[in-house]
């Protein structure tokens, strides 16, 4: 008898091997029932490059599952929705809410992946919760969404529906504060955020832990991500002479902070969360302005890991683009979803939203980042935050995140 665990392992392995077989045409199995999985990502705007990687990695997992007939009798169909709008220039919470409505109103959609961004997640969860549709996010890290304290807001229907294959800013912010204090010996810091749900949240948690660590927080201000000019606030920061600057936010404001802070304070220690990790940030900020910038990601560093190397090679081969750590968490999210559907199908019950949500709660899925399981709120059991520093490697493309971000360490836990 095949245990659940072994079965899941088989799925993961076949998924990877099938993907390695390159040609990823999805054979139409007319007799199969179609299981639709929604995917919400920020394909328009400043974060488009990371979004494309999320989409590609997810597509890769489902193609492999279909090809390898991972769930006998069922074919997966990915419904891709874009929450970025031209007017916002990045993710747009209103568009995310519209996408959530679209997913919920399509009865064949039994599970979802995404969103990438916490601001989108906050807009989507009330709708997903009412519709009973569970989603797995590969990168959104705002802790409020899964915090039982805010259940009335983000899961009004009661059950946890927001699962993550990354940890949250409850760890990303504070662990970076620990890293600043313990490893970089920072005594005073100025904190900026980009007004977004994610940016404000991660800056808040960083600030709280920085104060606890005895760091002097010299000030906190908020940036308009669409405004071109931050020299005013950066001049003010220079006059306060801090050891470090922490920026909570994503790349739209991030690249300008990197550029202008380099002009005004070239030697300052600067860092940010995963919003400052990726090729968008490298290309927009450019060297030398981004040199030395510290970034975290809310996941273990896997790209150099042997387990992930097969995936990385296959990804590069298929899409011609280097994978990053969030491509892996996206791939993992898809594996977890496939596993849940598989277990529901194997039990003989109809594959419904309710059954998929219940299956997700008891996930124990071997993935590229290790075995994924969730706590009672849908948060990832593993809480690793990794720290990187941008260090120019002139031999590689200057916007290749896997080459220009040098992995330093796991950030110290509190």
């Amino acid at each position: 008898m095949i245990t659940r665990r072994a079965a899941a392992q088989l799925v993961a392995t076949t998924a990877v091997t099938a993907a390695l077989g390159a040609a990823a045409g999805t054979p139409a199995r007319a007799a199969n029932k179609v299981v639709k999985i929604g995917l919400d990502a920020s394909l328009t705007g400043a974060d488009a490059q990371s979004a494309i990687k999320v989409k590609d990695a997810t597509q890769m997992a489902f193609d492999a599952a279909n090809e390898g007939n991972a769930v006998p009798g069922y074919t997966f169909e990915l419904v891709i929705l874009d929450d970025g709008t031209a007017t916002a220039g990045q993710y747009d919470p209103a568009q995310a809410a519209t996408n959530a409505r679209k997913m919920v109103s399509d009865k064949d959609v039994v599970g979802a992946l995404g969103p990438q961004m916490s601001g989108a997640g906050k807009a989507m969860t009330p709708i997903l919760s009412q519709g009973g549709l569970a989603t797995i996010t590969p990168s959104s890290t705002n802790p409020d969404i899964t915090n039982p304290k805010f259940a009335a807001q983000y899961r009004p229907a009661g059950k946890p529906i927001y699962f993550r294959t990354v940890t949250t800013d409850a760890f990303q912010g504070p662990n970076m504060a620990n890293f600043f204090a313990e490893k970089l010996n920072v005594k005073s810091v100025y904190i900026l955020d980009d007004s977004g749900a994610f940016g404000v949240g991660v800056a808040d948690t960083f600030q709280a832990q920085a104060e606890k660590k005895g760091m002097k927080v010299l000030g906190r201000d908020r940036l308009d991500p669409k405004a071109p000019d931050y020299t005013t606030i950066l001049t003010k920061i220079k006059s306060l002479n801090p050891d470090a600057l922490y920026f909570g936010g994503v790349s739209q404001a991030g690249v300008k902070v990197a550029k202008q802070s380099y002009d005004i304070m070239p030697k300052l220690i600067r860092g940010g969360p995963d919003g400052t990790y990726g090729s968008d940030f490298l290309a927009g900020g450019g060297f030398p302005a981004v040199e030395g910038w510290y970034s975290t990601i809310a996941a273990p560093h896997l790209i150099d890991d042997t387990k992930a190397s097969q995936f990385v090679t296959a990804f590069k081969g298929q899409f011609g683009m280097g994978a990053d750590d969030y491509s892996i968490t996206a791939y993992d999210a898809a594996l977890v979803m496939i596993d849940a559907v598989k277990r529901v199908a194997a039990s003989g019950k109809p594959v419904t939203r309710e059954a998929v949500q219940a299956a997700l709660m008891t996930s124990k899925v071997p993935t590229l980042q290790g075995t994924i399981s969730f706590d009672e709120n849908g948060d990832l059991a593993d809480r690793t935050v990794s720290v990187f520093q941008i260090t120019k490697d002139a031999s590689k493309p200057l916007d290749d995140s896997s080459a220009q971000y040098k992995y330093l360490a796991v950030a110290p836990q509190s």
């Binding site: 328009t44 705007g45 201000d221 405004a227 003010k236 006059s239």
Partner: protein, 309 residues
């Protein structure tokens, strides 16, 4: 950094921002003065200017911050880039006027303004869909020369930006005040019908206003790129809205008013960020706008427009 140094530094920051707002505000004012039309496509002509400038500089082999020029080559490259950018944007302005706004010239109400919003969105989305959404690294061929004034730093590029902006604004002012076509523009602004009866070719004058305004927006876009070393499809909105505010603050339709208004908005932004918080920038700017309009509806330098019938 002493307190005085800090104030000085913020003044420098504010005036650099202001120079850009002024150039942009002039375009609003020129067109409004003549047509009483708020031309929203101006926002994104500015944005396209920054891209044209970037591509022109890249054609000279400049990319990123790696190639630094000095002396004559620098002056030559910048001159060519400014001429190409301003020519392209000026032409774009003329095309926008000819194709989308002239047919609506005699339509009463907000139709023309709404058309200009539409054109603005078209330009915006064309750039988004063709060059992509990510921020582009704008080439910076300017050498890093920094002057210390006490604790404040004055960059060479800031001086260059001031000089270029002042030259352009001065040239425009002279043109409007002294040249024949300038006189025709002023006449058209006062009374289109009377000007036409006096033999002014009104269509040509309007075309000229669009050309000049858009060319200045193009120059503003290039200055934006040189100053911030990045550009993106989204830069037109915040800058455009603040420049529009500057034009209204100075008295819309009034050329020196737009220049002073731009500088004021730049300074308000810098000082507001220093003494209150950057998060409050828009609240501060627009509160001042509201106050000025309540107590002096025609703006700081404007006069109440004569009743046109």
């Amino acid at each position: 950094m002493t307190y005085t140094d800090l104030l000085l530094q913020q003044t420098i920051n504010g005036l650099s921002l202001g120079a850009m707002y002024s150039l942009l505000a002039l375009g609003f004012t020129l067109v409004y003065g003549i047509l009483e039309l708020i031309n929203f496509s101006h926002f994104n002509v500015f944005m396209i200017g920054s891209f044209v400038a970037m591509w022109t500089l890249q054609m000279f082999g400049l990319s990123g911050q790696d190639v630094i020029l000095a002396g004559l080559p620098l002056a030559g490259v910048l001159l060519v880039a400014f001429v190409v950018t301003m020519g392209f944007c000026g032409g774009l302005g003329v095309v926008i006027e000819r194709v989308t706004l002239r047919p609506l010239r005699n339509v009463k109400g907000p139709a023309a303004m709404i058309t200009s919003i539409g054109v603005s969105y078209i330009l915006f989305n064309i750039v988004l869909l063709t060059v992509g959404a990510d921020s582009k690294n704008f080439p910076n061929p300017l050498p890093t020369i920094r002057y210390q004034i006490g604790g404040a730093t004055l960059d060479f590029r800031v001086i260059l930006i001031w000089v270029i902006a002042l030259l352009l604004m001065g040239a425009l002012y002279m043109f409007v005040q002294r040249s024949r076509l300038g006189r025709a523009m002023r006449a058209t602004a006062q009374d289109q019908e009377a000007a036409r009866m006096m033999g002014v070719e009104v269509d040509k004058v309007i075309m000229m206003a669009f050309f000049l305004g858009s060319a200045l927006a193009g120059a503003g876009g290039m200055i934006f790129g040189l100053y911030y070393n990045f550009t993106s499809f989204i830069i037109g909105f915040t800058a455009g809205l603040r420049a529009f505010t500057a034009a209204v603050l100075g008295g819309i339709g009034n050329v020196p008013g737009a220049m002073v208004g731009g500088m004021l908005i730049g300074l308000i932004e810098a000082m507001g960020g220093q003494f209150i918080a950057t998060a409050w920038t828009d609240v501060i700017i627009f509160s001042i706008l509201v106050l000025v309009l309540v107590f002096k509806p025609s703006g700081l330098f404007g006069r109440v427009a004569p009743n046109k019938s």
